[in-house]
């Protein structure tokens, strides 16, 4: 089965709209390449060319959007406007963590973040964590090594949360990992593998 073409609202003023012509798989590769520049410390976004635009910096790439409804959450913008489908809409109430992304390096739930609160702030999604050459992030690799998923729906949120958990210094014991990962629910119950994956990634010293 070939990857489906994402169906997205057209935005003639969006200079990055060419991305929407890519297949989902090509798109993911392109985003990974862009994201390799670095996860945090992204410089402030450039001013928008037009006054009616707002800018988002996602995985080091700047996007200028028009006609943004004030009600749109960051999750809505990532998925519906930028074609980044990694962050998932689970509960849409801040209770499940499937939509976890980083803003300025800190993990947040994008479903309770109004998109307009995230303009000009560096956003990192699951699409931005692997290296340019395709090498998975150590936490992504650890999730594979420990089979830390079943259906996979919560996995992008789990991994974004886990990366932050390790960086925060909250992954030094199983008890800490369980406490500080409690905002990410897994209905398949893959918690044992998730904890083991985070222990491995934390011990590797590769998550800084």
């Amino acid at each position: 089965m070939t990857p489906q073409q994402p169906v997205l609202p057209s935005d003639p003023a969006d200079t990055s709209s060419d991305e929407f012509e890519l297949t989902r798989r090509e798109f993911a590769v392109a985003v990974v390449a862009v994201g390799a520049v670095g996860l945090v410390g992204v410089p402030p976004a450039q001013a928008c060319p037009r006054g009616d635009q707002v800018s988002f910096t996602v995985n080091n790439e700047v996007h200028h959007l028009t006609d943004l409804d004030a009600r749109a959450t960051l999750l809505d913008v990532l998925r519906e406007r930028l074609g980044l489908f990694g962050a998932k809409k689970g509960c849409d109430q801040g209770q499940c963590g499937a939509c976890t992304v980083h803003i300025e390096g800190r993990r947040v739930v994008s479903c309770l973040t109004l998109a307009l609160q995230a303009t000009d702030r560096a956003v990192t999604t699951i699409e931005g964590v692997a290296s340019a050459d395709g090498t998975l992030h150590p936490v992504q690799q650890a999730f594979l090594d420990h089979d830390a998923l079943q259906c996979g729906y919560c996995t992008p949120g789990q991994i974004m949360s886990a990366i932050a958990c390790i960086r925060e210094g909250h992954a030094s014991s199983v008890e800490d990992i369980r406490e500080y990962m409690s905002g990410n629910l897994c209905r398949c119950g893959a918690y044992v593998g998730i904890v083991a994956a985070i222990q491995q990634a934390a011990a590797s010293g590769q998550v800084g």
């Binding site: 409804d69 004030a70 009600r71 959450t73 849409d92 109430q93 801040g94 963590g97 976890t100 800190r106 993990r107 947040v108 739930v109 309770l112 973040t113 109004l114 307009l116 609160q117 949360s161 932050a164 958990c165 925060e168 909250h170 369980r178 406490e179 500080y180 409690s182 905002g183 990410n184």
Partner: protein
């Protein structure tokens, strides 16, 4: 969600001016309560003013000899992990890291958290009458599913619980809250900030409609060290309190010089248990005196059929918290 106009504020002056004008905006900080309630249409503001870019309200200082100062926009996670707060004021740190999830603590602010609205399921669901949402229409929780509703401070119009942990912890350290409006600045004691529902459950605080929280200040005190926030939940982490207790002790050997107790998850507002405190002062600390204090904290509890168990659980929570605090003295 009902359409609204979004504005990002660039100064405190701009915020208080907007709050004093006609059609004042709802203030948006971390958004973890407001955006959630807007999605449910429980909150339907026509204007929203985002204050998260006001650097003058961000940040905190725990190095002072007189007081700890927390800007209203300080994120919960930052204070939870602060080394000074962790070692000298564990009641504050624990009230924060035992609340919500790390993602929500990275978003939610200390000022906004004080104003967190109740989790009463009837308040959150527009199909049920709720006096807090629509004064005078009745309370669906009284006679409804009320396992988690208030045992203390309830009225015949509302039994909704104040859900916050941080506000409860601040009660035992005599914190104050600085607020500003176009009329000037004033300072409220934390104990004066929240209201019992009485006949006006829609009025939850004593803040005027045009006032903005600037910061929270906690006087430095030896009570901080022998303190804890113990939270009993339906699951081990990431849940609201079924019962909780904030306690702080000042000990002289095994003699209690001073005691502070507040209970959370069981009252309509952050709830200080003065009688329980007094029962400990000037006495030797024992398991028996701790248990007695726990019982006294709930001596005026009013229960419903489903919430009866929370009286003993709450008393036990206070007693256990006192023992933990005692060990830290």
């Amino acid at each position: 969600m009902i359409p609204f106009k979004y504005v990002s504020a660039s100064s405190v002056e701009e915020v208080v001016d907007a709050l004093a004008a006609s059609d004042p905006p709802r203030i948006l900080a971390g958004g973890t309560t407001l955006v959630d309630l807007m999605k449910l249409n429980v909150e339907q503001p026509s204007r929203v003013m985002d204050i998260t870019r006001l650097s003058e309200l961000a940040g905190f200082d725990t190095s002072g000899s007189q007081e700890l100062v927390f800007g209203a926009l300080t994120r919960m996670s930052d204070v939870a992990d602060d080394p000074v707060v962790r070692s000298r004021y564990p009641v504050l740190s624990e009230s924060l890291w035992r609340a919500a999830s790390q993602q929500l603590r990275n978003m939610a602010t200390l000022g906004g958290n004080l104003l967190q609205r109740t989790r009463c399921a009837y308040f959150r669901d527009l199909q049920y009458p709720c006096n807090k949402r629509d004064p005078g229409v009745g309370c669906s929780a009284i006679g409804g599913v009320n396992r988690g509703h208030a045992l203390l401070g309830a009225s015949d119009t509302c039994i909704a619980v104040y859900p916050g942990d941080w506000g409860t912890a601040l009660m035992v350290l005599d914190a104050v809250v600085d607020v500003q409006s176009v009329r000037g600045r004033r300072t409220l004691k934390i104990s004066e900030l929240h209201r019992e529902p009485g006949q006006t459950p829609h009025l939850e605080t004593n803040l005027a409609a045009d006032e903005l929280i600037l910061r929270i200040r906690v006087p430095t005190t030896p009570l901080g060290k022998a303190s804890t926030y113990l939270k009993v939940r339906d699951r081990e982490s990431y849940a609201f309190a079924v019962t909780s207790a904030a306690v702080a002790l000042e000990m002289d050997g095994n003699l209690v010089r001073a005691a502070r107790i507040a209970v959370g998850g069981v009252a309509t507002r952050p709830w200080r248990a003065h009688t329980a405190e007094q029962s400990l002062v000037g006495k030797l600390f024992t398991a028996s005196t701790a248990r007695k204090a726990g019982d006294l904290a709930f001596e005026n509890a009013r229960t419903f059929d489903q919430s009866l168990f929370r009286v003993q659980l709450g008393a036990n929570t206070v007693a256990e918290a006192l023992k933990i605090a005692r060990e830290r003295a």
